[in-house]
């Protein structure tokens, strides 16, 4: 479901094909990484996180807004674009969950930036990670599901 969502969002909004690959932590970008995350709560509960290196995040923003990379403002445009992209991925997943009889509500997107970041949840959660790549760029989608949800999905 998340794999489809990421591929669909990247294809539609960025005209960019991302292909699945084994998940690897994104530590290669010296400028750090960015995580966009959106939670869903209800009959299905969890968080969807998109991890990207700062360089790829800039490429994504440039493609999304249709502006040259040098005009991308890393402080304002990049977090907003990654947040919106995460929201679209989560929206896609939420719709599928609702159609399977698991109604839920999305949280507003949040974005964090830094070095060697990871998102962890307290309590009983199942983590599923899917790696993606586009040429030299890598992306990681992580879904953290409450155990009761994980059994049903």
């Amino acid at each position: 479901m998340t794999r489809e969502a990421v591929k669909e969002v990247f294809q539609s909004m960025l005209s960019m094909e991302v292909n699945p690959e084994p998940p690897n932590p994104l530590t290669a970008d010296p400028d750090g990484q960015i995580i966009g995350s959106v939670g869903f709560i209800g009959d299905a509960t969890g968080i969807i996180c998109l991890y990207a290196g700062a360089g790829f995040a800039r490429v994504i923003t440039s493609r999304l807004l249709g502006i040259p990379e040098e005009e991308v403002d890393a402080e304002e445009m990049v977090p907003d674009a990654i947040g919106e992209l995460s929201n679209m991925v989560a929206g896609y997943v939420k719709s599928r969950l609702c159609d399977r009889g698991l109604p839920c509500t999305l949280t507003i997107p949040s974005v964090v930036r830094g070095q060697q970041l990871s998102v962890e949840c307290s309590g009983q959660v199942t983590t599923r990670a899917i790696g993606f790549h586009n040429c030299k760029h890598h992306l990681l989608a992580e879904v953290l599901l409450k155990d009761s949800t994980a059994k049903e999905v």
Binding site: E8, V9, S12, M13, T61, L64, L65, G66, E71, D73, E76, M77, D80, A81, G83, E84, N87, M88, A90, G91, Y92, K94, S95, L97, C98, D99, P103, L106, I108
Partner: protein, 374 residues
């Protein structure tokens, strides 16, 4: 009159995507970053269509829609809902609220245009464009600076044009002047207290009758951070102090789309004449380059096959003049136009000292140049 489209979305990214999608069309895109602001803008501007996000902080799309439907002035305004949630329940809920259409994110810009095009009559900007003003038409410039010397300097620099320069020393006063109509372009100092220039731009963009007035920022050359911020926040351009009148004229021409080709090009009996001016500055290169190709194509279309470059006004054979002439010759030769130059003996000798100009055909008058090309 332009179509007004209001996009209400907390995501700046989506608002930028919407604005970009409708850029080729004769329409005005108004923005609001939450439902409360969206209702205020809708009430003030009476948009022709509203693109409304479903999930927003402060006031979500449902509540905005409900309030629109209870407002007698706005209840008939078509609303297209944008949502990243495509579940059955959401879609049913949206349909029950009486939106005209809805779009699921992710969406392509073309799809958005197509859906909006079903609701309003979108016209291509080029088709709707009126005849452009010319460089020698009167235009009104409003200088927003708390230092009167800057306005005086600009007024003096533009005294050879029919352009009128007025001054406002505060952003509030500038906004009032713009609302009264008649202001074609605003020059605002980026160093005004309390981010005055940035606030002014934001306010101008929020009103239909001022949203399309181009605003140029002014700052000192070393204020790199201010320049970058201005470019990111929607200033049409930035001009550095001390103001160079030639640069200012070029930038004003560009942001207002003023017709300038008549200053440099003339069609004479099927021959294209390119007249290079005495005051040769980088703006001349830009303006000539902008019009060169279309002028050459028009000449060929009209059956012409000659380009004559008039150097009579040029004071010195400088590299920028030579480079521009070379690019004109190259563009002309691609269209099989032959080229000659007109200039005095003195200027001819100056040009002859450069290796690049050895093959140029020189003549003293236009008629003699024509004869050389026969």
């Amino acid at each position: 009159m332009s179509i007004k489209i209001l996009t209400v979305d907390d995501s700046k990214t989506i608002r930028l995507i919407v604005a970009k999608a409708f850029k080729p069309f004769d329409c005005m895109v108004l923005e609001a970053d939450n439902g409360v602001v969206g209702l205020a803008v809708a009430s003030r501007e009476k948009p022709d269509v509203i693109l409304l996000d479903y999930t927003m902080p402060v006031m979500d799309g449902f509540e905005v829609l409900a309030r629109l439907r209870s407002d007698p002035d706005l209840k008939a305004t078509p609303v297209i809902m944008l949502t990243s949630e495509a579940g059955r329940d959401t879609v049913i809920k949206i349909a029950q609220l009486g939106v005209r259409d809805y779009l699921i994110k992710p969406f392509k810009g073309e799809l958005l245009v197509e859906r909006v095009g079903r609701v309003v009559d979108l016209k291509n900007k080029a088709a709707a464009a009126k005849k452009n003003k010319r460089f020698d038409d009167p235009i009104s410039i409003l200088v927003v600076d708390d230092k009167p010397a800057i306005s005086a300097q600009i007024r003096a620099g533009l005294e050879d044009t029919p352009w009128k320069v007025n001054n406002a020393d505060q952003p509030g006063q500038a906004l009032d002047r713009c609302m009264e109509n008649g202001v074609d372009v605003v020059l605002a100092s980026l160093s005004l207290p309390n981010d005055g220039a940035f606030m002014l731009l934001q306010n101008l963009r929020g009103y239909a009758n001022t949203a399309s007035i181009p605003v140029l920022g002014m700052c000192v050359r070393t204020a790199a951070a201010e320049q970058a911020r201005a470019q990111q926040t929607g200033f049409a351009s930035v001009i550095t102090k001390p103001i160079d009148p030639a640069e200012l004229k070029t930038k004003v021409c560009r942001v207002l789309g003023l017709e300038t080709s008549y200053k440099y090009f003339q069609q004479r009996d099927g021959v294209l004449a390119l007249m290079l001016p005495k005051d040769f500055h980088p703006g001349v290169v830009q303006e000539v380059s902008t019009h060169l190709q279309s002028q050459l194509v028009s000449t060929v279309d009209a059956g012409g096959d000659k380009l004559i470059i008039d150097l009579n006004s040029v004071e010195a054979a400088t590299m920028p003049v030579i480079e521009l002439a070379l690019s004109a010759i190259q563009a002309a030769s691609k269209l099989s136009l032959r080229c000659a130059f007109v200039g005095s003996e003195a200027i001819k000798n100056q040009f002859r000292s450069y290796e690049e100009t050895q093959a140029w055909l020189f003549a003293g008058t236009f008629e003699q140049a024509l004869a050389l090309l026969k």
